[in-house]
Amino acid sequence: MQPAIEVEGVEKRFGQFVALAGVSLQVQQGEFFALLGPNGAGKTTLISALAGLTRANAGSLKVMGFDVSSQYRDARKALGIVPQEIVFDPFFSVRETLRFQAGYFGIARGAALDSWIDELLAKLSLGDKADSNMRQLSGGMKRRVLVAQALVHRPPVIVLDEPTAGVDVELRQTLWSFVRELNAKGHTILLTTHYLEEAQQLCTRIAMMKQGRIVAMDTTEHLLNAFSERVLRVKIDGELPAELQQACAKQEGAWHFFPIHDYDEVETRLSQLRQSGVHIVNLEVAEPDLEEVFVKLMHK
């Protein structure tokens, strides 16, 4: 099957600054893919290159098999982008904004379009704001309109560039529920976010970028297994006996961290602690964590 996104050897320089230094990746159709990295890693530049907002100095970018430069019309029709910044046109209402956006993509006005706009607005809890001017909406509502604008032409590939930056819990839940639904219907999702727990929960595959390069790309599960581990955290009263010091990977005050591979090891470790006369005050099992993976890879 044709990959939804194909990026091959893409380079982009702004003067002396190298924003993308030979990035290659493929996102398959139907995937929920995360592009992670610190600020300035090149995520937004890569998305801009996919959208045709930035022109790569070298390499090729394709969306659903269409080259973003030579076949830009088809490539752009296949792509819906939710930008990082909240931008809007203050002259128009929500419905007018969506009608215009659909029209730019060649979708004529009419009952079918209005019905789809109503459906989108209902899904994004904006049904009662259809005729409100964009200026009257809160920041969260404007961000939801941006999502609707990205989807109004029914693109098979959706790019969300930090869509939950600075938004409340309710909006996040509404947004993720809708995006999951779209992914389940076959839409390919490319997500960039600084909320790593969101990427861990939602995405099946992750690429991590640093200084314009991809430093890791694998399934979420493989990345977690390779760079993070399950940990038994035990809070004890007193000192940890010498014979258990080697098994303890880290200590933070009274909390001691014991790496474990599976849950059977929990009982074994607790039994050792009890036999050594340790009084356990509290305990918890921490699952592998994408934040740990991220920190390790970024400091490599």
């Binding site: 045709g52 029209g103 060649g106």
Partner: protein, 253 residues
């Protein structure tokens, strides 16, 4: 060119100025009316530019054309600079629109605003003086070509400017002097030879002179020369605009 995309962008650009028509259409008409009242009062009886044409009659078509030119420029340049500064230019850069779509939609919307303003000035003007119509086709040709030329110049300025004050400089130091020194308020025959010669280098002069010919059948220079220079200016600026839009100048990095 995609028809639905072009039509949508055109509709959006028309609605953008129409929603604030008081500012974009009524205000320029009022400004022109004030010019009419002041200049016709001060210059009344100062001698006609053409035989059989009073100063008031001479002034009104020039004022209408000047308002059209200024508003055509203002429409495209302000729309682009506002979109660039607020960031909503993104909404038209992401879709599959071509440079022809952008050029066509911005230009036609600006010409429509210019003609709305021109009609407003003309309607107000007929209460001040009787305005004959010698050749409607000439009037329309100069109105469309002149407004189109300034609309194209407005696109170039809107693309080039990064800040509102850069655009204001373009408007105040280029557009305003060229329109004011184009023979709107006087016939260039009333000027000393040096200034007459300088006026011939101003393309705005030919637009005003040709437009005025459409009303009176009289002009400072020949109609063919005015039409040639106006059309050539329009096509040159349009070619430059299309080149910049296609190259993504200051739009796509």
């Amino acid at each position: 060119m995609t028809m639905t995309g072009f039509q949508t962008l055109l509709r959006k650009e028309i609605l953008r100025f129409w929603k604030v028509a008081f500012q974009t259409v009524a205000a320029p008409v009022l400004t022109a009316l004030l010019y009419m009242m002041i200049f016709s009062h001060v210059m009344s009886g100062s001698g006609a530019a053409f035989s059989g044409v009073t100063y008031e009659q001479f002034l009104i078509p020039g004022l209408a054309m000047m308002s059209m030119l200024q508003n055509a420029f203002a429409n495209t340049s302000s729309s682009l600079i506002q979109s660039k500064i607020t960031g909503n230019i993104l909404f038209i850069l992401l879709p599959p629109l071509s440079h022809w779509d952008y050029y066509g939609a911005y230009l036609v919307a600006a010409v429509i605003r210019a003609i709305a303003v021109g009609l407003g000035v003309f309607l107000v003007g007929i209460f001040v003086a009787h305005i004959p119509v010698h050749n409607i086709a000439v009037i329309i040709a100069f109105a469309v070509l002149g407004s189109g030329m300034l609309a194209a110049l407005g696109i170039i300025a809107g693309l080039w400017a990064d800040k509102f004050d850069q655009l204001a400089a373009f408007q105040n130091f280029l557009i305003m002097p060229l329109t004011f020194l184009s023979g709107v308020f006087y016939s260039i025959h009333s000027l000393p030879p040096f200034w007459q010669g300088l006026s011939h280098l101003n393309p705005f002069f030919y637009m005003i002179d040709g437009f005025r010919y459409g009303f009176f059948g009289k002009s400072d220079v020949s109609l063919a020369l005015s039409l040639s220079i106006t059309a050539a200016s329009f096509f040159c600026l349009s070619a430059a605009t299309l080149y910049l839009l296609k190259s993504g100048y200051k739009l796509r990095q």
